[in-house]
Amino acid sequence: MALDPVNTGALAPAVVHDMPVYSTPLVAVPEETTFFVRNMEFHYGDFHALTNVSLDIHDDAITALIGPSGCGKSTFLRCLNRMNDLIAGTKVEGSVLFGGADIYGPGVDPVDLRRRVGMIFQQPNPFPQSIYDNVAYGPRLQGIRKKSELDGIVEDSLKRANLWKEVKDILNKNGLAISGGQQQRLCIARVLAVEPDVLLMDEPCSAIDPTSVQKIEDLMAEIKDEVTTIIVTHNMQQAARVSDYTSFFLQEVAGEPAVLVESGKTNDIFTAPLDKRTEDYITGRFG
């Protein structure tokens, strides 16, 4: 199975989309829905990783994806900005509508999609450049060259990422020379600088110090009204603390595809889950 794309970086022509595509969706997409996912299947080569995932992601809210390791929650997250295209041999079926349009439809440029749906990874990944250049990376890609304009974007983005106070005097320092928690907030600032509609966060807090975790949770709440956020987390307290909605994924049998067990308002999921498996997970019986 060609699962290891670590160094190939090849944009594989991996996505096969068999669904008929309509300019207007067959089902009416509810108001205030950012992502409208129906009957999604996902394959890594021969491995069927996710099956029959149907989920609405709500506008201007924080959605947490929880579940044990290997349950496909990160895979699902990467489907939302077609990051899985970068992994050779992957295949998506079903509908993933973003703002009413199918992101796997013909004529959709994943590069454009990713400008609107930004992503933060578990491992902070600043580029080997100055802090300033890191944040200015996205705006520069979009052709913004004017120093004053870039200065404004950099300052604004770093402020929104709760990092400005710590780095305002060291903007020329290498982005790799600051602490891991600061690096992660730098990466958030870098994504916010391109003003995405959606922010996907793949376990953003599992490799950093508690102070930075606090600051990231704070900034998530602060930007909630402008940016729809979806966060994958292993930390259930974090999911309960920060999110408005929660979805629980589970792979019940090893080798079989994982499913979306239950989703709903975070409060409901954590206090009155409908599914026995959700309850078991939340009360710590497995995972």
Binding site: N7, M83, P128, N174
Partner: protein
């Protein structure tokens, strides 16, 4: 008759029924420990001797060249470096050979680097990984192991005989660049492959295209290792004798245009030593050649160390 072992039996009784076994086992264990310690020390000795021979070989060569070469430079300093050789014994300095060496190496770098780096980017980032990439990689490795005398002969036949380029900096640089291509290409490819996936994803995740990602993120990230490869290739070219001997000639000349001929330091060293014309100057040249290459290697290490601090 007096029981000679009565005391021992008493003592054994006190110690319990297993005491005898215990004593034997204890002795065996000590013997094993001793053997193990001996084997360990012996291995350590053999390994350190092997390591010592390696270091000694280098030290002896450097010392030998230093002892023989230093007087030639010191007695005519700095004229040994900055004047021309003269007379039948090639007395005097070696200035034009230093300039020729630097000239041809720089020119070869200019030719080889862009081709090698772009080829490596293609192989590592764009080419469909599979048979063809494996073949290209194998070809590069084979090119790297072509004996330099063969490469020199090829340069003579191809660039000079077939393309009528005169024996010059240009023809030598072309032939040298063939030698450097695979070194730079493989170093660059390895460097690009070593860039972590999540770093690329950071760029793609912001809506960067492949080329933007390669140019602004992947190559800068890989740069220290690429530079190391460049410096190593440069060291190889500077010390190269056979290739330049065939393609640049041996006339002592101060090159100005790329079509001028000249004599590199390595060729000068060979010419002086082969007939015993002027061994003193030969050692002096060897010393300068070695110092230059040593400096380059140190530079490569320094670059790697500098960048590793932040990585």
């Amino acid at each position: 008759m007096r029981d000679l072992f009565a005391e021992d039996r008493e003592r054994l009784k006190e110690l319990g029924p297993d005491a005898m076994d215990k004593a034997v086992r204890n002795q065996r264990r000590q013997a094993r420990r001793f053997r193990e310690r001996f084997a360990n020390n012996a291995a350590l000795m053999v390994l350190s001797i092997a390591a010592g021979i390696t270091v000694m070989a280098l030290a002896i060569i450097i010392l030998y060249v230093l002892i023989n070469g230093a007087p030639a430079i010191a007695s005519h300093f700095p004229s040994f470096i900055f004047t021309w050789p003269h007379g039948v014994n090639a007395a005097g300095g070696i200035w034009p050979t230093i300039v020729s060496t630097i000239y041809v190496t720089a020119l070869a770098m200019l030719i080889a680097t862009p081709i090698a780096v772009l080829a490596a980017v293609y192989l590592a980032e764009y080419a469909k990984q599979g048979r063809i990439v494996t073949i290209i990689r194998f070809a590069a490795d084979s090119l790297a192991s072509v004996p330099s005398i063969v490469m020199g002969l090829f340069g003579l036949a191809f660039f000079i005989e077939a393309f009528h380029i005169p024996m010059s900096m240009l023809s030598a640089a072309l032939a040298l660049s063939l030698l450097m291509l695979p070194i730079i290409m493989r170093a660059t490819e390895e460097a690009i492959r070593a860039v972590p996936r999540y770093i690329r994803w950071g760029s793609y995740g912001m809506g960067a295209t492949k080329w933007q990602t390669v140019r602004r993120v992947v190559l800068p990230w890989a740069m220290p290792r690429i530079i190391t490869g460049l410096v190593l290739a440069m060291g190889r070219a500077i010390g190269e004798t056979a290739v330049v001997f065939y393609t640049m000639g041996m006339a002592i000349n101060m090159p100005v245009t790329p079509l001028d001929s000249g004599r590199s330091m390595a060729v000068h060293l060979y010419m002086l030593a082969v007939d015993g014309i002027n061994l003193k100057s030969a050692y002096g040249t060897a010393l300068i050649l070695m110092v230059v290459i040593l400096l380059l290697n140190t530079l490569a290490h320094a670059i790697q160390r500098r960048y590793r601090k932040v990585r």
